[in-house]
């Protein structure tokens, strides 16, 4: 052991840097988690609340404006005095997100004779607080912060209903209504979930299978031009997907018309008019995602596989194992971290892909993938944040589960290939 003073200084220094690290880390986590937190909060709020105030006001009583009518349009009975409750009026016909709290004030608007200019009238806009009387359609209107109001006239009057703006200090209220609406009101979101799985699962498995074979060949098989071919494959990574849309679509259209004639020749589809093979389909998405995912997949896996212990493979060769046996018995089990980490990558890309699906995927409204459905909701629900956010949360949950369940491979896989013998 060393001098006590020395140790303290040292550990203090470590503590300081560690605390600083934690603060920075906490800050980064906060920035990343905040939007998700906002998304979830908004999806659980009522339509009016999500439209009129920010998500951070959702947890404390917040003053919001609400318009209520004094009575129903059909009620034309003359009355001298009428009483009611603002909350009852507001919550009428609602079975969720009921408004509770204190009525702070009512915004009064109306024209009164102008004291300065007797021929003209003057517009008055002022906040009337609980207990203060105000003149509404010639009657005296008084309300309490509990929401009770009375409306009194000098003689029986068949007053028309009046809509007033009340500012209410409203208690927080949450509910799953938005989720019920997007999941059950129509089949759009459930269909989009299914379509996204139909696209994503094959579009992850196909490239990773091909890439594993290719990576083994590039790493451990000797053939002329191997390195040049590998460089070519790697350089394909820089080709942007957007550049290839037109030729790719033309290609699919050619294949589809060829398949249509084959279909007509082989089967009796002409009788039922079902010969047409669609050029934009789930299969075109699988092919496109596979093609554009392969270069990176081959590159990552090859770098991992080339780092596996040479002695292991050589002794397998000496024992008489074929390439296929080595691949299936040795390479695949040893490469699980790299395979898993790439499949997470590919899964997330394909799951979140909008543009490829938009151009190349099926256009039937039942076959749209989740990002397209969200984009369509942006048009339809742009003003209904709670619904949009509920769908977004549903679409986030799937990749979240995939990521969390595979993250220990992911971290190992990220290091894979970068550190020799790692």
């Amino acid at each position: 052991m060393h001098g006590a003073c020395d140790v303290n200084k040292k550990s203090l220094g470590i503590d300081m840097t560690r605390t600083l690290k934690h603060v920075v880390l906490a800050f980064i986590v906060f920035i990343w988690v905040l939007p998700f937190f906002a998304l979830v909060t908004t999806s659980l709020r009522s339509e009016t609340a999500s439209k009129t105030s920010g998500f951070w006001t959702a947890f404390t009583p917040t003053e919001l404006g609400h318009r209520f009518g004094t009575h129903d349009k059909g009620d034309t009975e003359p009355f001298i005095s009428m009483s009611g409750n603002i909350f009852e009026r507001l919550n009428e016909g609602k079975d969720s997100f009921e408004i509770e709290g204190d009525v702070k004030s009512i915004l009064f608007k109306g024209r009164v004779p102008d004291p300065d200019n007797p021929e003209k009238t003057k517009l008055i806009r002022q906040l009337i607080y609980a207990g203060e009387p105000m003149d509404v359609r010639g009657g005296e209107f008084v309300f309490q912060s509990s929401g009770d109001f009375t409306w009194t006239f000098a003689e029986a009057t068949a007053a028309k209903p009046k809509n007033l703006d009340a500012f209410i200090n409203q208690n927080p209220v949450f509910g799953p209504d938005a989720y019920i609406e997007v999941l059950f009101e129509n089949k759009n979101v459930p269909n989009a979930l299914i379509s996204s799985f139909i696209v994503t699962i094959p579009a992850t498995i196909i490239p990773i299978t091909i890439a594993a074979f290719a990576a083994y060949a590039f790493a451990w098989m000797r053939f002329p031009g191997r390195d040049w071919l590998f460089v070519l494959v790697v350089s394909l990574m820089v080709v942007p997907t957007q550049l290839a849309f037109l030729p790719v679509l033309q290609g699919f259209s050619g294949i589809a018309s060829w398949a249509t004639s084959l279909n007509a020749w082989m089967t009796d589809c002409e009788a039922t008019k079902t010969c047409q093979v669609a050029s934009k389909s789930f299969a075109s998405l699988w092919v496109t995602h596979t093609a554009f995912g392969l270069p990176l997949a081959i590159y990552l896996l090859r770098n991992y596989i080339v780092g596996l212990p040479k002695e292991l493979l050589e002794s397998a060769r000496i024992d008489g194992a074929s390439h296929l046996q080595i691949f299936t018995r040795l390479i695949i089990p040893l490469s699980v971290p790299a395979l898993a980490s790439f499949s997470i990558f590919q899964f997330l890309w394909v799951w979140n892909d909008l543009i490829v699906a938009l151009y190349i995927g099926p256009a039937d409204s039942t076959d749209l993938v989740f990002p397209i459905r969200l984009q369509k909701q942006l048009g339809t629900f742009k003003d209904q944040l709670h619904l949009l956010n509920a769908s977004a949360v549903i679409s986030i949950i799937v990749p979240l589960i995939v990521f969390l369940s595979m993250q220990r491979y992911f971290i190992r896989g990220l290091l894979a290939g970068s550190v020799k013998g790692g």
Binding site: G65, K109, T272, K382
Partner: protein
Amino acid sequence: MKFTLGAAASVLAAVATLYSAPSIADVCDTPSKLGDLGKFEGETITIMGSMEGNDEQMLTNTVSCFEKATGAVVKYSGSRDFAALIVADLRSNNAPNIAIFPQPGLAGDMAKEGHLTPLGQESADWMAENYGAGPSWVALGTYADADGKEDFYGFAYKMDLKSLVWYSPEQFEDNGYEIPSTMEDLIALSDQMVEDGNTPWCIGVESGNATGWTATDWMEDLMLRTTSPENYDRWVSNDLPFNSPEVINAMEVYGQFSRNDDYVAGGASSVATTFFGDAPKGLFSSPASCMMHRQASFIPAFFPKKGEELDAGEADFFYFPPYESADLGNPVLGAGTLWTMTKDSPATRAFFEYMKEASAHEAWMSQGTFLTAHKGADLNAYATAALKKQGEILSNATTFRFDASDLMPGAIGAGAFWSEMTAFANGQDAKETADNIQSAWDAIK
């Protein structure tokens, strides 16, 4: 466990029955009877367009009548990125049967590339005769092909009326305001509102990659109110340059509304960043943030209660009035979607015949926001009194002109005009804005 599963299932079943789709049988039951269109059992027609949400639902309901009559299957796919997608599909030989162009500019470009099939002189003659202001609708759908030969391609179906000002009758009553019948009165009323401490206008031009189109509508409406219809037509064809005094004047008049901090809710700087569909909500917010909103007939779909306000008397509209001093009559600005044949088939031809039927128009009229110039359609089929009133504005018009930005070449009408008007909203000088649009136009000549 068994119990909870059963309970969950019964809840699901209850929810499912609660939300089962409303019957659409009554949509097809129109005052006019549908003629014989032939039988196309099992044939599929694919349609691509930009309509989404409510419009998409109404479109699907309407074409279901065609499906019932002929046995054909109609598949519609709508996307906000229609303009980009249709170009890729047409050029890569993946055309749908029918493409619905919201802007004639792009349809004209596609006709030039040879992707559209002419509908024939017979259809053009039919439209000239059976549509109100027929010849101008025919002209709207007539484009030149690669050889410069003009043909009729675009069948106008579903129209919009643009020259409307929306307001809340209750607010007008509370504040003691009257509906203005001239532009002079409208400006006086706006000033009165400012004096009273109210904000007269809600204006928003943000619309994703189409940001600025609301401002071009304002411009066009004001062009029709500050200069002659002939000048308007010359402006559309660029015979009257964009930076000529008439056009700059109209832009400056628009600026008097939109670049006036006292006039616009949220201040003039908010115009460029406010979503056009959010702008009218200011009429109904509590308390109301503005008193008036100039926008086309489709806008009630963006009201907080999706247009129920109109029936409840909480919202109404008046005609965007002309200057009394200018003596230009009652000009009206409008637009229509153009249905074009992009892949020929017998069933597709039958669908174009279907659109000539009054019943096809009435089926959509009965559902909501839809205006038609079809003279044979029964006006009583309109879903609401408001739509009928819009029909009256349409018929009282002394001048009817189509949305100019829709008629200009795509690079201007759906490009420079939009983006420069957004720059104008952000404070760019009117002269500079007009010069920039004109030089963009010179560049494509």
